[in-house]
């Protein structure tokens, strides 16, 4: 064998050694990823596909299933309950978005200062986040009770009429906003706190030397540098708001299936649940789910497009 042939053989052997090593590593990697991939496919992708198929059928829990085209989507647009749910979802989202981000930012700024008992207050604001939704909703049902609730007791002490939080349609959604905001502020506060701690101190020191007031520093340093965090908080909170389910169900569902007085706490996901499981209309419920999906996608798309104008990435 010539020297050249020997060199070629040696090089080929090295390549095959590298290939087999790569192959093994690839196998190892996919083996470790496989549980997750299978989980996503079995518990997410396949149900998603089935749900899309069901949305074009008259499927119920039992009985024959027939393809009905876009009937379920048309039905949603003419269903009074769907429009009530959609209106409630948007009203809820707008109020909750404002009430759970602005105060969260204020609290985060306060708790970013060197205050006495800072860790204690951080913990205090975060406790509602880790509390069970069903548990706190039941607790709030007692707190908001018209006759013996602690909140109405306080309102009466102040000389005002008690508020029928859970018994009148005009107050039903306000109760859900109150509880969800109370539960969400702590989480948003922690995210803002993390964002605030990433703002370089030198910028404030330089601004102080230039004579900038605290308010000017907040407007020109804190807010712009916090904008990626604010964007994240706004997007995630809004998506959570559009998908609200647990609080209205735990707080307001009745034996007849209404959610709050006159369906005042009915949002889109509880309606989806009611149609799927209380009225067993799986096809119609799937169509509602896909309409909600499109709405969330559209709103998120707009948020991302608009974000180019106000979010500053360093």
């Amino acid at each position: 064998m010539s020297k050249q042939a020997q060199a070629t053989a040696a090089s080929g052997s090295a390549r095959s050694r590298i290939s087999s090593k790569q192959l093994r590593e690839t196998f190892d990697a996919y083996s470790m990823l496989l549980p997750t991939i299978l989980g996503v496919v079995i518990f997410f992708a396949i149900p998603l596909g089935i749900s899309l198929y069901l949305s074009f059928t008259n499927a119920r829990i039992f009985g024959d299933t027939k393809i009905v085209g876009f009937d379920n989507y048309v039905k949603a647009l003419t269903d009074a309950s769907f429009w009530i749910a959609l209106r409630n979802t948007f009203v809820f989202s707008v109020f909750t978005l404002i009430l759970s981000t602005v105060p969260a930012l204020i609290v985060a700024i306060l708790l970013n200062e060197k205050l006495f008992g800072r860790s204690f207050f951080r913990m205090l604001f975060f406790i509602p986040v880790v509390a069970s939704v069903v548990g706190v909703s039941l607790l709030w049902r007692y707190l908001l009770n018209l006759d013996f609730g602690l909140i109405n007791y306080g309102i009466k002490l102040l000389g005002f009429e008690p508020i029928p939080w859970l018994t009148r349609p005009e107050w039903g959604l306000a109760s859900v906003i109150l509880i969800f905001t109370w539960k969400t502020i702590g989480y948003n506060m922690v995210i803002f706190l993390a964002g605030l701690q990433g703002v370089p101190r030198q910028l404030y020191e330089a601004a102080s030397l230039d004579g900038a007031s605290r308010w000017k520093q907040f407007l020109n340093i804190t807010l712009p540098l916090l904008s990626p965090t604010t964007f994240f908080v706004l997007v995630t909170t809004l998506i959570n708001c559009l998908q609200i389910f647990d609080v209205p169900i735990a707080l307001g569902i009745t034996r007849s299936g209404t959610v709050g007085p006159a369906d005042s706490m009915l949002t889109v996901v509880p309606l989806l649940y009611r149609e799927a499981f209380l009225n067993t209309r799986m096809g119609y419920a799937s169509a509602i789910a896909w309409i909600l999906f499109v709405i969330i996608m559209a709103i998120s798309f707009v948020q991302f497009r608009v974000s180019d104008r106000w979010v500053n990435y360093e």
Partner: protein, 444 residues
């Protein structure tokens, strides 16, 4: 390298174990239908066929006191069927809006209990699933069982197309529970005294409700749960009905139905009634003078009330009116052993068992047997148990809607009812909108 391999093998094993765990059938009481010992799995009719069988049964309880009653009933079933080798397991479920959907979902998944209770009005929805066993063949071949022992109208309601789809757990009429101390303190005749004098009518109810409402003391004249039972009582009492005579359409827009709805609308306007989720607790706490409900409320009052109380018939409107609530135990077609399920069902609905339940205070026996009725009448308080029985002859039977969806109908009706009691729509608008919006629930 070694740790990578180990991790890979561990991942694969975890994945396989997870999939096996997810796909495997549960053998716990919460899992599938009846669990049967291998030796008995093949047999179906001989007495020995039931040996080693566990039958899971379910009903819901309004409160802890009622749940205890069913736990004791389970013990009775096990004592009686010990010799036949049948074991019963009581599998309770919460008394909320999810009770029926939970069973329907379990039926679809193939792991519903062998025997389960539902409300009489929901019977059609369950039978239409095709998952409910026709009991007629089992009844026909069992000479020890007499279906004539049960109330005829209830058996009529559970019979459809010649098939018998269940046996009633119990019955209950709706009555007025009243706080006797509150009436006494106000110097008013209580509902029982008014009934004895032949003066217990809708005008008397409105009068007592008005006089006993005192916002300063957080005291309401009248309370009832926010569901179709008490709501439709007012409509029935004024000569109306929720459904047309053939039960194939809505009748909430008739003048009679609107007159009934107007009574409640006026009560709400004047803040004289409480109907929210805590209204029952408010009665038990002594803040409500009268409460309309079925017999199932009695154990909770016995446990919690510290005042004197009793019951009276529902006040007479334009016609005598109350509800005859009932609910059947149904047998799952997928039960592994129908004969064993039948044996358990017979005990659950026997004179002894229903009498025992009645004696514990929960409900009225579904049977006409003297023994069962005597056991019920002796279950005091309330002293005036006869009030529950007096309503049976004229009560409206809670019936299945074979050509519609009762749950769907009542959800729509309930939402509009709330709007009416909140003053957002008038009783006329309630009736008209209810019939418009529920029209689709009658087309199968």
């Amino acid at each position: 390298m070694y740790w990578k391999r180990s991790l890979t093998i561990f991942s694969l094993l975890t994945m396989v174990a997870t999939m096996l765990a997810a796909c495997g059938a549960s053998t716990t009481p919460q899992g599938g239908a009846a669990t049967t010992a291998p030796a008995a799995a093949e047999a179906t009719t001989a007495p020995a066929a039931t040996a080693g069988v566990t039958i899971r049964w379910r009903t819901r309880a309004s409160d802890a006191a009622e749940q205890k009653v069913y736990e004791e009933l389970n013990t009775l079933v096990n004592d009686q069927l010990k010799d036949k080798g049948i074991t019963a397991t009581y599998d309770p479920a919460p008394n909320d809006a999810n009770y029926f959907p939970k069973i329907q979902t379990e039926l679809a998944a193939g792991n519903a209990p062998d025997i389960f209770w539902i409300g009489g009005a929901n019977l059609a929805e369950f039978v239409n699933t095709g998952q409910i066993l026709d009991l007629k063949p089992l009844i026909d071949k069992d000479s020890s069982f007499k279906i004539s022992d049960f109330y005829d109208n209830v058996i009529g309601a559970v019979t459809h197309d010649g098939k018998i789809y269940g046996l009633p757990r119990d019955i209950s009429t709706m009555v007025v529970y009243y706080n006797a101390d509150m009436f006494k303190a106000a110097g008013l005749q209580n509902p029982q005294e008014l009934a004895a004098a032949g003066k217990w009518d809708m005008a008397a109810l409105i009068d007592a409700t008005t006089k006993l409402t005192d916002p300063a003391k957080q005291q309401y004249g009248l309370g009832f749960g926010n569901w179709w039972g008490p709501q439709l009582y007012f409509i029935n009492a004024e000569g109306g009905s929720a459904l047309t005579a053939d039960r194939k359409g809505c009748a909430l827009n008739t003048p009679e139905a609107i007159a009934g709805a107007t009574i409640v609308s006026d009560f709400s306007k004047n803040k004289q009634i409480v109907t929210d989720g805590e209204s029952e607790n408010l009665f038990n706490a002594g803040n409500v003078a009268m409460y309309m409900n079925g017999r199932w409320m009695a154990p909770g009052i016995r446990t919690n009330a510290t005042f004197n109380w009793d019951v009276a018939p529902m006040p007479k409107g334009k016609v005598d009116s109350t509800w005859l609530f009932w609910g059947p135990y149904l047998v799952n077609t997928k039960t592994a052993n129908p004969d064993a399920a039948w044996e358990v069902l017979k005990v659950l609905t026997s004179a002894e068992a229903t009498g025992k339940v009645a004696a514990l205070g929960t409900n009225i026996p579904p049977r006409k047997d003297e023994a069962a009725v005597s056991a019920f009448l002796g279950a005091t308080p309330p002293a005036n148990n006869q009030a529950y029985l007096d309503g049976i002859p004229y009560a409206a039977l809670e019936g299945p809607v074979w050509d519609g969806n009762w749950s769907d109908f009542t959800t729509t009706m309930g939402s509009l009812w709330d709007k009416m009691t909140a003053g957002q729509i008038t009783p006329e608008e309630f009736g008209n909108q209810a019939c418009e919006q529920t029209a689709g629930t009658f087309t199968k």
